[in-house]
């Protein structure tokens, strides 16, 4: 399989660079070559990094220092402590009983299933649309593709009503209230629903390009569609699955809107983002705690970013129109 098919991003001329373009690009860039240009890039990089650096530095400073001096004095008078992290995770420190620990647990417990569910269902749908030939498959694919235009704001209110009250036509209940309040299920299901249009579209693009011979040969040998899907399609589609999984993992981990709507704000189900948004509003002056909390929430995406940059950039470019 060539490098080209590994590329799942429909992102505009996405980051795989065609070999031919280098010299021409150089000519363009030479035109912009000057010490001023280098200075500009370095200056922008520094400006881009400083806010995050300030967050990290503050989260490591003792409470008293944070309240009295700016974080930039930290480098002249270093005093490092991990007490803020301990406080924010386990004590709360806001006069709230628990710290962020339950919310961190919730974030993980929400994100992992909300990544696996759509990945499995979308790859199944993509396989059927690409390789099980049946009447109407083109129309179904187009409808799923077109559903990408619906912003999830259009679904929030009716979906919440469905989860809490069931569905009724007149007095006839066509869907009972499931009593899922206070569990992760509404959040998992909602993330799965909202992920499907993009996931089916991306995975279909990839799965449809798998070599025809391979799949036909297996079918002729008598393998069922289920066997072909499990033993041939899934292993070969791993790069596409990985890109989408990383994108979806980060999307769910970073999401505020879906979690706020379907999980509420309780420590039983709400993820970190929801709690941090609350704290930022109500306890805005405890910067040593707020910065430590924020850093805990961004450390996982940053770790994913720096370790899997290639897949990460692809996944993000591919998903840039999601929502």
């Amino acid at each position: 399989m060539s490098e080209e098919t590994v590329e799942v991003a429909p992102g505009a001329e996405a980051p795989v660079v065609p070999a031919g373009g280098q010299a021409g690009a150089k000519a363009v860039r030479r035109a912009f070559s000057s010490p001023i240009a280098s200075f500009l890039v370095i200056a922008l990089t520094v400006v881009w990094t400083i806010p995050t650096l300030g967050l990290l530095a503050t989260s490591l400073r003792p409470e008293k220092d944070v309240a009295q001096t700016g974080w930039w004095t930290f480098f002249a008078h270093p005093g490092i402590t991990l007490a803020n992290y301990h406080d924010v995770l386990f004590n709360g420190g806001f006069g709230v009983s628990n710290g962020l620990m339950p919310y961190l647990v919730n974030s993980l417990a929400i994100t992992v299933p909300a990544t696996i569910f759509p990945l499995a269902l979308a790859s199944m749908a993509a396989y059927a649309l690409a390789w099980v030939r049946f009447k109407g498959s083109d129309i179904i694919f187009f409808v799923i593709f077109a559903l990408q235009v619906v912003p999830l704001q259009m679904a929030l209110v009716p979906l919440l009503q469905l989860y809490s009250g069931g569905a009724h036509i007149g007095s006839v209940t066509i869907f009972p209230s499931l009593g899922l309040g206070g569990t992760y299920a509404p959040v998992w299901i909602s993330h799965t629903m909202f992920a499907l249009p993009l996931a089916v579209f991306l995975l279909h693009n990839f799965i449809a390009q798998l070599p025809n011979d391979l799949i036909e040969a297996a079918r002729v040998d008598g393998a069922s569609h289920f066997r072909v899907f499990r033993s041939i399609v899934l292993p070969l589609a791993t790069p596409a699955l990985a890109s989408f999984a990383i994108f979806q993992f980060l999307w769910v981990w970073n999401d505020l809107l879906v979690a706020l709507t379907f999980a509420g704000g309780t420590p039983e189900v709400a993820p970190l983002t929801v709690r941090l948004a609350q704290l930022s509003g109500s306890f805005g002056d405890h910067w040593e705690i707020l910065t430590a909390g924020a850093f805990i929430s961004i450390i996982i995406p940053l770790a994913v970013f720096f370790s899997l940059q290639r897949y990460f950039v692809r996944g993000l470019l591919a998903g840039s129109v999601k929502g």
Binding site: G24, S38, P102, A155, P158, S280, T291, S297, G323
Partner: protein
């Protein structure tokens, strides 16, 4: 607490295990079917769950939201277009629409221009991967995290006290002895919030545009250079026209993200101090004011505003795939 964590992880892991087990069981059972039923069965099992979830989770709710937007707050009385009239004529809502308009013009344009400048400059430097990584890094951070980072930068204290907000301190260093309380100063606060969006999205613009510039065929640039095009003229007459489509895609993509902007406003100001925008107002009307009708009308307005942008974008992306 650890017991609580264990239960929660157990629930999540249990859900995944049950989900996968059920799928494998169905695959195993359905894989034994043969003859005429095997194909319809395969289609139903592969496609059924996704279609059902899309119908229940997107199609029906979207239609219902459109219906609800013509009703009153608890959906008992038909109001016709009153909710829409309210959205476009009440002074509070007009301010919100104006803010949103300002956002979708300023933030995407600044992001795209900065991304283009960086794309042109960064690739000639040594250690370019490092610069790119640091500028792209905010894309990994949630809008909530980014908002807290910048809220700290914008922190205000009386100028006579030692400062802890970087922006105020810089102003003092530069000799401005009376910097304002940034987040409370309207209309300046809108632009300060846009900085967060630009900070997050510029890396995306840079990476996409950089790839587009590298993809310009050699012959075209060489021919232009032979004809005497240099520097600014080369940029204006060759580079820009060659990457025009990508520029528009980047611009519209950031516009879509901006239109749906919710997290930054929620975390930074909660929509107060004249910073409210459409998506956050939609949430407030629906889930704080419990006015389902008005909230739904705002959702529909958002949908109609996003529609041409997303439509253009996905058609464009599909076309580029086709030509590749």
């Amino acid at each position: 607490m650890w017991a609580d964590a264990l239960t929660k992880f157990g629930n999540a892991a249990g859900a995944v295990v049950v989900f996968v087990a059920v799928l494998l069981l169905i695959f195993f059972a359905a894989g034994r079917a043969s003859g005429r039923v095997s194909k319809p069965l395969a289609v139903t099992i592969f496609l059924g769950p996704a279609l059902l979830l899309l119908a229940v989770g997107l199609v029906v709710p979207a239609i219902r939201t459109i219906t609800l937007s013509f009703y009153n707050d608890d959906s008992t009385k038909f109001l016709g277009g009153n909710n829409y009239t309210w959205a476009f004529t009440s002074s509070g809502e007009q301010q919100i629409l104006l803010n949103t308009l300002l956002w979708i013009i300023v933030a995407p344009v600044v992001t795209t221009v900065l991304g283009l400048v960086l794309a042109l400059l960064v690739d000639r430097l040594r250690h370019q991967g490092l610069y790119k990584a640091f500028i792209f890094m905010p894309m990994a951070i949630s809008f909530v995290g980014a908002s807290i980072i910048w809220k700290f930068v914008y922190n205000y204290r009386d100028p006579s006290q030692p400062q802890i907000g970087l922006l105020s301190q810089i102003c003092l260093w530069l000799g401005w002895h009376n910097p304002p309380n940034w987040i409370l100063s309207h209309p300046l606060n809108n632009f300060l919030l846009m900085v967060i969006m630009v900070w997050v999205q510029t890396g995306f613009a840079m990476v996409v545009l950089s790839a587009a510039i590298k993809a310009i065929p050699d012959e075209i640039t060489e021919a232009a250079v032979l004809d005497g095009a240099r520097g600014w003229r080369l940029f204006q007459y060759v580079t820009i026209p060659m990457i025009r489509n990508t520029l528009v895609v980047v611009l519209t993509t950031v516009m879509i993200t901006t239109l749906k902007l919710f997290d930054i406003i929620r975390t930074m100001t909660g929509g107060n101090f004249g910073t409210q925008v459409l998506a956050n107002e939609m949430y407030s009307q629906s889930f704080t004011e419990f006015n389902t009708g008005r909230g739904s009308a705002l959702a529909v307005i958002l949908f109609v505003a996003v529609l041409p942008l997303v439509g253009y974008n996905i058609v464009q992306l599909r076309r580029e795939r086709a030509t590749r």
